[in-house]
Amino acid sequence: MRSEAPVVLSLKGVEAGYGRIRALHGIDLEVRAGEIVTLLGANGAGKTTTLKTISGLVRATAGSVTFEGQELVGRKASDIARLGVVHVPEGRHVLRGLSVRENLELGGFTVADPKLRRERLEHAFSLFPILRERQHQDGSLLSGGEQQMLAIGRALMHGPKVLLLDEPSMGLAPKLVLETFRIIRDLNQTGVTILLVEQNARLALKLADYGYVLETGAVRMAGDAETLGASTSIVEAYLGA
């Protein structure tokens, strides 16, 4: 059964695209407080575009995106981040030329109180001790797994209410994938709501409370993660085994 918690993030009839190419054809979805919701689907189904539309990198051409009752469509990405909707994009985008510590501190750009920023930095270092060790290195010189930790740690510096994670396991060794998923679950248990895009559907469904399956820019199916995971036809048809 889906949780009865209030809806924090809601998309209704969202359409969006790049130039003349329309990537989303009316997406409806809801994320409730404290949930982990996963977006599944083949390459090109519109998962990444959905996240970009929520965070404001792509402008919705129709429909509405609301966060805690406020309309997000038309706001600048930096304002949406300020509201607490924090997007960790595909490929991690660690800032080259900035040290690990500087990457983290910039994650707290919207945090005006330096004391709070220091506390959060300490928290990120305690979650990911390797980042403390490498804090003075150029962020782009970290390994893939370390960069993923940095990307998540940086997002936590905001104090996110909703975390949009795009392919956090991409390019990681299997052991690190499990580690990353464990971190996501721990974060969720501290109260962060998570919308997760993931290629590894089986793993994502094990972690998530609820799932949406996208196909060619529309929601094809939705349901409890357990139900979706149990349905072999779904797994075969949409999740590429």
């Binding site: 600048k76 930096s78 981040a81 997007h87 994009p89 900035l98 910039l106 994650g107 940086r154 905001h158």
Partner: protein, 304 residues
Amino acid sequence: MTLTTILLQQLVNGLVLGSFYALVALGYTMVFGVVKLLNFAHGDLYMVGAFIGLLALSLVAGAVGTSWVGVGLAILLSMLAVGFFGVFIERIAYAPMLKAPRLSILITALAVSLVLQNGVLSLTGGQVMPFSPKLGFAGINLGDIFINYKQIALAGAAAVLMLALELFVSRTQYGRAMRAVSVDKDMSELMGIDVNRIIAVTFFVGTALAAAAGTMAGAYYGSIWYFMGFLIGLKAFTAAVIGGIGSIPGAMLGGLVLGLLESFGTQIPGIGSAWKDVFSFSVLILVLVFKPTGLLGKSEQERM
């Protein structure tokens, strides 16, 4: 004079010249970093800075005179006024072109350059105007070489400005945000950084440094005119390329290297001071051919 004396004297001259180049090159490279624009109007903002500096000097002259304090105040006032002017230009001329093809914004920059030059030309009638602060010609003798107090003060002021910039860029959140915007605009937005505001801050800082250099050059050489920004714009561009365009330490280094190359270059038998500019631009071509990323520039490769 012995050869050593000549070389030492040229070292001093080169460092002073180089610090002007470096100040102007910094604005070039910072603007290139955040909006990937070669701001050909940058040299003209240096020129505008010199005129505003002269205006400011005449305004404060009654209160503090036109000596060291007056010139210092004129530099600060010119930095402030021209800094805002740079932001204004960015808003009306460049911001609407940021999404357009690169060539459009480059042509816009050339247009801004012409507007500034011709604007000052018509306001001043094209006259060379005396910029005569009472800084005197006193100095100190170190062995056989003579260093003017003006040279010490201006090179010192340039060093202080560069140090302040370095601290701003490495220690403050806005400075870090500026570096973030220059490598990844989308990610910067996702971190809550208002990219347009950072671009405005960058234009302010870059233009203010050019204005400081313009006022300092006025005080150093003693006269200013509407065309004074043209050549230094090209020289600053050269300095930025030598150091690695987009790199802030690179612009500082490139400016000093170019200043030193020029003042030593004129001492090579057969290359008189008339060939100074040919010498500089040959260096630019050599750098572009053999090390296009410059001394401190990084290639654009990214690790996955």
